[in-house]
């Protein structure tokens, strides 16, 4: 056959790349987002089919086995996962992408002999970034799923250990890249074992990258790891000289970095500060100790406050996700609206454990899109709000960010719930929030604490409304 398959495949890869670009573009606008995801998946399907036509493929059984296995794991996981567990699911998928890039790099290294620097450098990078992405995502998963303590894990000499490990990895990398298959005398090990050592080190670095990061900083880390998985794929693209991997990998890398930046900015911190400071676990102060009395409120009294309000703003946080309270919140919102009370939902950009976490949960509960108000949008009108209901949010409504220069979160933009006439705070106990930062909000004159599980508390309010 004279037909040029090679050319056809490469032309097809261009179409696939275009579909990815269009898909990402459409994903960034609410009207087109779903079509964008579909376009991008068509691009993926096209890329896979074209790859199957490649003449280098001699047998299909292992490919089929892998695709069947992967689909059997991936599809049910995506279908069955609860919306409240979305951050950990995304972390797991992300980790899968990372290790896939690592394995691609490794497989090429395993086969190759006399690989040049042009191939060895990307192999090193795909293994390194892929490995960090994999273990980092797994640790993020275990933290988010609360399999291990979500608090930052800090030990003495952590920074020094990190620096030493990075230095060793770079040195090994240089050796491998320069002399890929030859025998080097570094530590008396052959290049192959140096390569395996790099894989292990990459894994350890991923763990060390994520363990010092606390729950509230997770949105930054999740989007950074997302960016890494793209970069790892782009590196794998250089390994196998494939355009479509480079284009889509760097698209993901770039978009991930933008998202990471948005998240970091919303916390008034730099990415470096999030990664290396071990937020809240440092010896730096936890802010002024606030003295005063908190004023508890019963569900019955909270009902009276809400019932006489004209405008109510709900401010959800991670606590709403934990209590899975989004549906009852929506129910309460509907009841308030039925009583001619204006209801809005104020969403802080880093509320929850991943970018946009609260939006997803409230969308699941069918809260209308235009009722979800962004922080900059709602803050100027906060002093006209009668009741702000804080549901399991803490740091994102902490006025210390505005008032107390000694507070670790000083300077972070917050939702100014304390400007509302009354603030009702739903909280499990008086335990201070993540990282033990004092929250003067609880002691303000206009604050009322409604203690208990968020879902049960809201449920109680709903019952009060229905009883009348």
């Amino acid at each position: 056959m004279n037909f040029n398959f090679e050319l056809l495949i490469n032309l097809g890869y261009i179409v696939a790349s275009l579909l990815f670009i269009i898909g990402v573009k459409q994903l960034s606008s609410p009207e087109t987002a779903r079509r964008g995801n579909l376009n991008s998946s068509i691009g993926m399907l096209l890329a896979v089919i074209l790859t199957l036509l490649n003449k280098d493929i001699v047998s299909y059984e292992w490919i089929i086995l892998g695709i069947v296995l992967g689909s059997l794991i991936g599809a049910p996981a995506a279908r069955l996962v609860k919306m409240t567990a979305m951050p950990e699911m995304v972390a797991l998928f992300n980790g899968s992408g990372g290790i896939a890039s690592l394995l691609v790099g490794w497989a090429v290294y395993q086969v190759g002999s006399g690989l040049g620097i042009g191939t060895m450098l990307p192999i090193f990078l795909s293994v390194l970034i892929g490995g960090i992405t994999f273990t980092g995502s797994i640790i993020a998963y275990t933290k988010l799923a609360e399999l291990i303590d979500g608090k930052p894990t800090i030990f003495t000499g952590q920074h020094i250990l990190n620096i030493i490990l990075i230095a060793v990895t770079v040195v090994l990398g240089v050796f491998i890249v320069i002399e890929p298959t030859g025998i080097t005398h570094l530590f008396g090990l052959e290049a192959y074992w140096l390569f395996i050592t790099v894989i292990v080190l990459a894994g350890i670095l991923g763990i060390l990258l994520v363990i010092p990061i606390g729950g509230a900083d997770m949105p930054v880390v999740i989007s950074l790891l997302n960016s890494f998985s793209g970069l790892a794929a782009a590196a794998a693209g250089f390994v196998i000289n494939n355009n479509v991997l480079i284009v889509s990998g760097s698209l993901v890398g770039a978009s991930g970095i933008i998202l990471t930046n948005i998240m970091a900015k919303a916390m008034n911190r730099s990415i470096g500060n999030v990664l290396f400071s071990g937020f809240g676990a440092t010896t730096a102060g936890h802010g002024k100790v606030v003295q005063g009395e908190v004023k508890p409120i019963s569900a019955g009294d909270a009902y009276l406050v809400l019932e006489s309000a004209r405008s109510v703003v709900f401010v959800p946080g991670y606590g709403m996700a934990v209590a899975q309270a989004q549906h009852v919140v929506k129910e309460l919102g509907d009841l308030l609206e039925a009583n001619d009370i204006e209801v809005n939902y104020a969403i802080h950009p880093v509320a929850g454990r991943m970018p946009g976490h609260m939006n997803v949960l409230l969308a699941e509960a069918n809260v209308e899109y235009d009722k979800l108000r962004e922080m900059e949008d709602i803050n100027p009108t906060m002093n006209t709000v009668d009741v702000a209901v804080v549901i399991g949010a803490n740091d994102v409504v902490n006025p210390a960010a505005r008032e107390d220069e000694s507070s670790p979160i000083y300077g972070m933009p917050i939702i100014n719930v304390d400007y509302a006439r009354t603030v009702i705070i739903l909280k499990r106990s008086m335990r201070s929030g993540f990282a033990g930062i004092e929250n003067p909000l609880f002691f303000k004159e206009n604050s009322r604490m409604l203690f208990g599980d968020a879902k049960q508390s809201i449920q109680a309010l709903v019952s009060e409304f229905k009883a009348t």
Binding site: S28, P30, A47, A78, N226, I240, I258, E374
Partner: protein, 95 residues
């Protein structure tokens, strides 16, 4: 020369990526992230090439595992993103 040409593509794609999504409404942060995450499963292409040309048990294991993980990323990522976006869609239709 091939490397230079690939670096050109890398540069253009990164610039495109930055330009494409400079402004994203907060509502779409999660779907965008998980949709992008699905795209990063493009390593599947490399994984298929590895698994299809593997001839030793080590490369077979590496290749098959790579295909499996990349497929989890791709299939799971696209489905979960679509599921989230469907929830947003439903409300718009109701309005």
């Amino acid at each position: 020369m091939e490397t230079i040409y690939l670096l050109f593509i890398l540069m253009l794609a990164i610039v495109t990526g930055f330009e494409l999504i400079s402004k994203v409404p907060a509502t779409l942060h999660t779907p965008l992230m998980s949709g992008a995450n699905a795209i990063s499963g493009i390593s599947l292409v490399g994984a298929i090439l590895s698994a299809g040309s593997a001839d030793t048990w080590v490369t077979i294991v590496l290749g098959t595992a790579a295909v499996t993980f990349a497929t989890i990323n791709v299939v799971g990522g696209y489905l979960v993103t679509d599921r989230m976006l469907a929830m947003f869609k439903k409300k718009e239709a109701k309005k």
